[in-house]
Amino acid sequence: MATYDRLFDTLGLRDWCGTEESDGPMSMADLLAKSSGSEATTSLRDFPFPSLDALHDACQAIPQSRDLTKGLETGFLDIRDALRVVVDPLTQPLSWALEDMLWVMTETPWWVMVPVLLLITYAVARSWKVVGFVALVLAGLAFVDHYEVAMQTLAIIFVCALICVLFGVPIGIAMSRSDRLQGVLTPVLDMLQTLPPFVYLIPLIFLFSVTEPKLYGIAVILYAIVPVVRLTNLGIRLVDPDVIEAADAFGMTKSQKLFGVQIPLALPNIMAGVNQTIMMSLAMVVIASMVSAPGLGILVLRGIRNLELGVGLIAGLGIVVLAIALDRVTKASLARIDASQTSR
């Protein structure tokens, strides 16, 4: 007898529940009870919570918890093919972009790649100090033979961060213009940011095959797009209302206002968002190594799996210096924008 038998009897639901005995698999508790030879008399201490499993014991018609997880799984598998028809072609360019970028950054000889990276650094940061620091970081990584993995990590970050900005800034702008959209998107952004990164991976693994780069690409983008959206929205909402009023009073159109006033004045905030987006891409790229994202994360993973302490530590250190370098470069460009327009 199960604990909740009497409940169903008194509710008169016994017929609905079906026969007592079933050919379904026995639960562990049933087995134990059977082997102990006597019907377990439940003491108050063991009184079970009316969970699905406990209720199922008393009434066959109620599903077990494992049916729930199973149902979700089959449900997802059922719509998977339909979903793939839509999502696959949409996201295919992401795979190509990642593959191409990985190819370019690893196949280009180092004596071309490193100067190009340093040039980009100078173009963005306009500071020889930062360029020197980046040179040091790259040289250090190359010296311990981590050049190729570092380039792989960077390639993924570049592609994903760029896509985050391409989508995130317009989404942020749309959010700043509509309180309703802000109301809808804020909880979504909150969720994306608080979900443990592993959780993104689960449905994605089912959707795409593990060998496709877009699998980790999507995971990284979903995770890292949040700050640039948030800060674009915030930055535009924080633009001095007096200045907006002046723009209106002189007859600016909506787009003149957006591109001539709102975006330029929100730029420091947008850049702060880009900085955070890049840092979060890096964090996610490492985790995404579990689903075949190449780069430094693979080595960290190897360190953990095979208990190769040295390999894991060096790769971890590589990630740290890469993070510092990326942060320095974006912060330097942020400071440049700030300096050129700190208002009043």
């Binding site: 200045v243 002046a246 723009a247 209106d248 002189f250 007859g251 006033v261 004045l265 208002s343 009043r344």
Partner: protein, 346 residues
Amino acid sequence: MTKNVKVSIRNLYKIFGADPQAALAKVHEGMTKAELLDQTGHVLGLQDINVDMKEGEITVIMGLSGSGKSTLIRHLNRLIEPTAGEVLVNGEDILSWNDAQLRTLRRESMSMVFQNFALLPHRTVLENAGMALATRGMARRDFEGEANKWLDRVGLAGQGEQYPRQLSGGMQQRVGIARALASNSDIMLMDEAFSALDPLIRTDMQNLLLELQAELQKTIVFITHDLDEALKLADHLVILKDGAVVQQGQPQEILLNPADPYIEDFVADINRARVLRVRSVMTDRKPDAPVDGEVAPGDNLESVIALAEGNLDRAFSVSKNGETLGYIDMQSLVRALVPRRVDAEA
């Protein structure tokens, strides 16, 4: 000489809140601003405003903070939509205009100067001055000449490549004025344009405005909470209290004949000898006392007292271009210096 009415406000009401029309009905039934706020939570911003603003004149709207001045001036270019009433510009009701017409109005016929300057911080002084022209689609090299001309005119020659934050408050507001002038609009709206400035700089800016106005003859709507400033600038003075007009007319007229105790209090602290002009006090009647000299109608009473060396038995003829317009004697002059009480008259 009667001038054309350029901008005209007719029976204008503005109510802030969720259901302004319902609140408007209550106001028509006679509910006051305080009652309306108490019982319905609506703010009566403006009630039954009727003002004519004449071409080429400075109309000053004065009132304490919260009296609805900013709300009123923003109806003239429809930055705020009224709850009821009409706004006529050159005889046309701009409330019926669509977005495109409204944009043209704002770009070409009305410019605005703001209390907090509201310059674009990321643009140079020159680009700010040319903002109206750039908004019309002009390229920088096309508006540069015009923008520089007006920057020179307001005393900012050579500062075009600076950024607004590099300038002092007074200089920033000069940019604000240059920006408004460079649009070549014939109407200029100035919302407490000088209130954020230090007193000495404020006086400079008032003089600059009068100087420019003598030359350009724009239709200016100027808002202030400062009576001295109002009296100095106004051709037509409108006094606002709790969203309603309490008195409007020539400033001298208001000073000599305040319509209610509220305005009496307002004008009580004014140096009347300096503000009142001979033309406001002079009479046709030839005085009994001998005429000791000539004064101009635009002279203030202070200068007449100085001319009489403080003696009360003097009288002067008022003449302009050799023609005698009237007379002024010291006794009526001194009487005019004493503020008149409305209740004392009754």
